[in-house]
């Protein structure tokens, strides 16, 4: 790996180093403070009562017995929630439901009590009379004319969302194609399975300003949501302070605010005491959101030489009963649909449909895994039909640096070709066939330089230095376990000639940290990294100016390295950085060094036609897998896995590999074992016994070769890598299963039952 800083022509001191997570020891020793660990004086415990039906009218609620229970301080029902208090971008979801319930996950009442046990007992004392309504669980059926309407204020179950694009001339291209394949795919509900369950503590000060401790990936946007809730509650011009404890896993689950947070606020306001709501594991499974499930219809074609001619896709998305970010995943699905490989003619249409199921949210990859499953599976089908090698067809159509895709994405750096090389080197796809053994490949594109899905894609950073050569950096970026603290510290340390232990990263409090749009879209290393770098550069400039005066050296000849400042030309002219800082501070008109920087990448919001350069740069990757399929049981065993990614530059290869391993294992679960099983809307497997998350024993050794393309816009050349690991996993597995035993599984997860049924069908 090239580890030379192009700015200084010197070897990096901190960038590119395998520095373990700064809080690893703290976490291993049990000292990290999660929301579970936080107790405030006088704190009460909140609990939520959920619906007993998928769809029902609430005829009567009697809370008198619950209220009378000793230790109960407040009982709230839908009628206590201000009408304007609604969650989600579609504003269809009040935190406690009134009049009717539309899913088992619907909140119907909430209690605050002195202990969790009393709160739980109180829930049991609430009497509700329901009148069951006809329910609907299949989104395609929910689109039919006579389907029961879930939200009466809308005339149809189909949401009014603009997911449609049509570039080039798909129909003409289809006619001109030499080969065309067509298939229907379906993907399931899976969930994030954060080890740290959800929770929040809300409290109001004497002036009715809110402080909320909550697990969130979007402190600034959550603050905005909570401000709106306060407004709805009649608390105008109040302040909201969001404090993030250490988060035990995000993966997209904390990209929206949840009912429990708003309920904690309502309860805290009602009792004027801190109220904590903490989910248990069953609640975490039932009442947090899933990945967006899909029904996908796809057609792809190529010419005689294997060049892709068109891609035509249509999807029906089960929106569930309410709307969160799941309904916006088509905006990201568009990325692989229009831009994974070169294809000029593309059409895409997605309908989000209300049902009485649970509702989906953001989850690592944000729609990309679903779309890529269909695209990469049918690409193999197309290759077979056209008689072209499956690796070759990917090379023929690969993206190139300098390309502008039909959606207007400007590809800067692109290491897709090198990623395919790396996969082929580790897992040759053209070797001799062994019985039951197969190989599969699939590629990915993802945003790697932010993603402008909000009005701003920015992140702020404030940096200050003390008298001892130490730095505090206040960043808008969120560390939720992925290691942004490390990346921030490494970037700042490298730029200022310090070590990571000299850098204190503060990222947990909206009262002190600047704005950031959120830890999503694999953007934190790129955007928060650039923000930190920007602030560090400003401070560096001041440092060099002082150094220049004191050492009598031109600023451009000065180097900051290993806590020293010295002249590149005459290393004798040198001084420890901390001494320089003290000289700057303790002199007439003294100065302490600090700087702020707000970085908003030069990317574009998508237009009405969904065109626009969403990200400053794009990450690419290719995954290869070798599997064994037991033809008698249908069980798929993963033998070998290689996940090659173009990451621009690996700021910390250790954390990078961790992201890839974690992503791949998450993807393998998606491909093979994981599924939230809903029976008539009710979660049947709200535990780790029956929700088949991969265990350590299932996780195989994964090779994660890194392709470095040094992106010109990335901090030290880096691009984002948070999500890609789980994007092409499912199609790589499906393709390998096909290669092994000749059956194509189009419905995730690829269970032994499905494989065996397909094998039996094939044998006739």
């Amino acid at each position: 790996m090239n580890n030379i800083n192009p700015d200084t022509n010197q070897e990096f001191c901190v960038i590119g180093k395998r520095i373990p997570k700064l809080d690893a020891a703290q976490k291993a020793m049990g000292r990290a403070e999660y929301i579970q660990d936080i107790r405030l004086p006088g704190m009460l415990y909140g609990k939520i009562l959920y619906s007993k039906f998928a769809h029902a009218r609430i005829v009567k609620i009697d809370i008198s017995r619950a209220k009378a229970l000793s230790g109960v301080h407040a009982v709230l029902i839908g009628e206590d929630v201000p009408d304007k208090m609604r969650m989600g971008f579609y504003k269809d979801n009040p935190p406690i439901k009134k009049g009717k319930v539309c899913s088992f996950r619907d909140e119907v009442a909430a209690v605050a009590a002195t202990t969790p046990e009393i709160a739980k007992k109180a829930l049991g004392l609430i009497e509700i009379e329901y009148e069951e309504l006809p329910a609907i669980f299949d989104p395609e059926k929910a689109m039919e004319k006579d389907a029961p309407i879930i939200h009466e204020m809308h005339k149809s179950n189909v949401l009014n969302l603009p997911w449609h694009l049509d570039y080039g001339d798909v129909e003409k291209a289809e006619k001109a194609s030499a080969f065309v394949v067509e298939e229907r795919f379906t993907t399931q509900w899976v969930t994030h399975c954060c080890l740290g369950t959800s929770g929040a503590i809300a409290l109001f000060d004497a002036k009715s300003n809110l402080t909320i401790h909550t697990n969130t990936q979007i402190p600034s946007l959550a603050q905005k949501d909570f401000l709106e809730s306060l407004k709805a509650m009649g608390l105008k011009n109040k302040r909201v302070r969001v404090i993030k404890p250490i988060i035990g896993g995000g993966f997209g689950s904390k990209l929206d605010t949840y009912a429990y947070e708003h309920i904690a606020i309502l309860l805290a306001h009602a009792v004027r005491k801190p109220v904590k709501i903490l989910f248990d594991r069953a609640e975490e499974f039932k009442a947090t959101s899933t990945r967006q499930p899909t029904v996908i219809y796809i057609k792809q074609g190529c010419d005689k030489t294997g060049k892709l001619t068109f891609r035509d896709m249509r999807m029906v998305l089960d929106n569930g009963a309410y709307t969160s970010w799941g309904a916006t995943t088509p905006s990201v699905m568009m990325m692989p649909i229009t831009s994974l490989y070169r294809v000029d003619n593309v059409r895409y249409d997605a309908k989000c449909v209300y049902t009485n199921n649970t509702y989906a949210q953001a989850m690592r990859g944000y729609g990309n895994p679903q779309a890529t499953f269909a695209i990469e599976s049918t690409l193999d089908m197309l290759a077979e039909k056209a008689g072209i090698d499956r690796v070759e067809i990917r090379r023929i159509n690969k993206n190139h640096p300098g390309d502008t895709t039909p959606q207007g994405f400007k590809i800067t750096s692109c290491g897709l070709s090198e990623c395919i090389d790396a996969v082929q080197k580790q897992i040759p796809m053209d070797g001799p066939k062994e019985k039951g053994i197969g190989t599969g490949i699939a590629s990915l594109i993802h945003v790697g330089g932010g993603a402008r899905i909000y009005k701003s894609d920015g992140c702020g950073a404030i940096l200050k230095m003390d008298d001892y050569g130490k730095v505090d950096i206040f960043t808008g970026g969120t560390d939720m376990g992925q290691g942004l603290d490390n990346i921030t510290a490494q970037i700042v340390a490298e730029e200022l000639g310090l070590f990571v232990e000299d850098i204190n990263v503060v990222h947990s409090d909206t009262d002190v940290c600047p704005w950031d749009v959120g830890a999503h879209a694999s953007r934190s290393t790129f955007v928060a990294g650039n923000a930190a770098l920007g602030a560090a550069k400003k401070v560096k400039e001041t440092l060099l100016a002082y150094g220049s005066k004191l050492l009598n050296v031109l600023p451009e000849d000065l180097v900051l390295r290993k806590r020293m400042i010295f002249s590149a030309k005459d290393p004798e002219k040198t001084m420890p950085i901390d001494k320089l800082l003290r000289k700057a501070h303790f002199s007439p008109q003294g100065k302490m060094l600090m700087a702020d920087f707000f970085y908003d990448p030069d990317n574009e919001n998508m237009g009405k036609d969904f065109k626009g350069n969403l990200s400053v740069t794009y990450a690419f990757g290719a995954h290869g897998v070798r599997v064994h399929v037991d033809e008698e049981t249908g069980k798929v065993k993963v033998l070998d896995y290689v996940a090659a990614h173009d990451v621009g530059r690996a700021i910390n290869p250790l954390l990078l590999e961790g992201q890839v391993y974690g992503g791949v294992v998450m993807g393998l679960g998606y491909a093979l074992t994981e599924e939230v099983i809903l029976k008539d809307g009710e979660t049947m497997n709200a535990n780790f016994r029956d929700y088949k998350l991969f265990t350590a024993k299932d996780a195989i050794r994964i090779k994660a070769p890194v392709v470095e393309t040094y992106d010109e816009f990335g901090p030290f050349g880096a691009k984002g890598i948070g999500e890609p690991g789980c994007v092409p996993t499912a199609p790589a597995i499906a393709n390998a299963v096909y290669d092994a035993v000749g059956v194509r599984i189009t419905d995730l997860p690829i269970t032994p039952e499905k494989v065996l049924a397909a094998l039996k069908k094939k044998k006739g």
Binding site: G634, K692, A696, K697, D698, P752, E753, L756
Partner: protein
């Protein structure tokens, strides 16, 4: 979690008298890997948990070399069985089953006795003990009695144990020479997995003619309690064991099973798995017999 008192008797008699003192509200506990889960979830709300862990005599694993009888104390943990070379070599079916229970931590805590008395259809430990013709020794307020392991089970979570009765140990009669055995847990994951179906096969061959003199085909999750596919067993006895014969036995066992559809798996697939694994385990028995010869 409801609070409870924790009692630690050091003999079977002391345990029983503790139980008698608090009968309605007391529960025995061995490793606690089932009990504590239930208490935490509120499915079980005892006022007293009587730990059996300090009762030395119930923790012994011993093979009488003279008689060939194996005695497994109810408190013997899965990990102890898994680590015993004697178990691994002489009772492969038991090794197969206990070495794949839960995780290392669960195997370190969980006991074979607890596994039986918890009495779920998926208990991995029950299948090999039934195949090995295990006998359970019970001790209660009214004294001792014994029964075949398979007769312990009445229904899911229900055994023949009377209030206060303790499972002391399981004895396994001497195994005939030319015996092979094996167990497969068919599941989706490699660890922390209850079987979708559990299949145990034990075969004994006749020295001269190589015909089968004894067959056990035991199934977990195939009925409300662990079961023997006795039709398939009878079919095998007296036959020379070939792959073709094992395939037929697998079909018979599948037909005898009373598998169901559940969220964990479908009945048809479970039936298929019985077919496949009766054959595979049968072949494994033959291979082991051949190896040992």
């Amino acid at each position: 979690m409801k609070a409870f008192k924790y009692l630690i008797p050091e003999s079977v008699e002391a345990a029983i008298s503790f139980y008698q003192a608090h009968s309605e509200t007391a529960r025995y506990m061995a490793g606690g890997t089932d009990v504590i889960v239930k208490v935490k979830e509120g499915w079980m709300e005892p006022d007293y948990l009587i730990s059996l862990k300090k009762i030395q005599e119930m923790a012994e694993l011993h093979k009488n070399e003279a008689t060939g009888e194996l005695s497994i104390g109810a408190l013997v943990t899965h990990a102890t069985l898994e680590k015993s070379l004697m178990i691994r070599n002489d009772y492969p079916i038991l090794y197969d089953a206990v070495s794949n229970i839960g995780s290392l931590q669960v195997r370190n805590m969980g006991t074979i006795g607890g596994n039986l008395i918890n009495a779920v259809p998926s208990a991995d430990g029950a299948i090999p003990l039934i195949a090995l013709d295990g006998v359970a020794l019970l001790h209660g307020p009214e004294g001792e009695r014994s029964c075949k392991v398979i007769d312990l089970f009445i229904a899911p979570y229900q055994t023949i144990l009377k209030p206060g009765e303790i499972l002391k140990k399981i004895t396994i009669p001497p195994q005939a020479p030319l015996t092979g055995s094996g167990y497969t847990k068919f599941g989706r994951r490699a660890a922390m997995e209850l079987p979708l179906i559990g299949i145990g096969v034990l075969l004994t061959l006749d020295e001269e003619s190589e015909t089968c003199t004894k067959a056990r085909i035991c199934l977990g999750v195939a009925a409300p309690t662990p079961m023997r596919a006795q039709g398939a067993e009878a079919f095998l006895v007296g036959k020379k064991i070939t792959e073709a014969v094992l395939i037929q036995a697998g079909n018979l066992a599948a037909d005898e099973s009373r598998v169901r559809d559940s969220i964990r798996g479908t009945a048809w697939h479970r039936r298929e798995m019985i077919r496949v694994h009766v054959r595979r385990m049968g072949l494994r028995c033959l291979a082991l017999i051949k190896e040992g010869r």
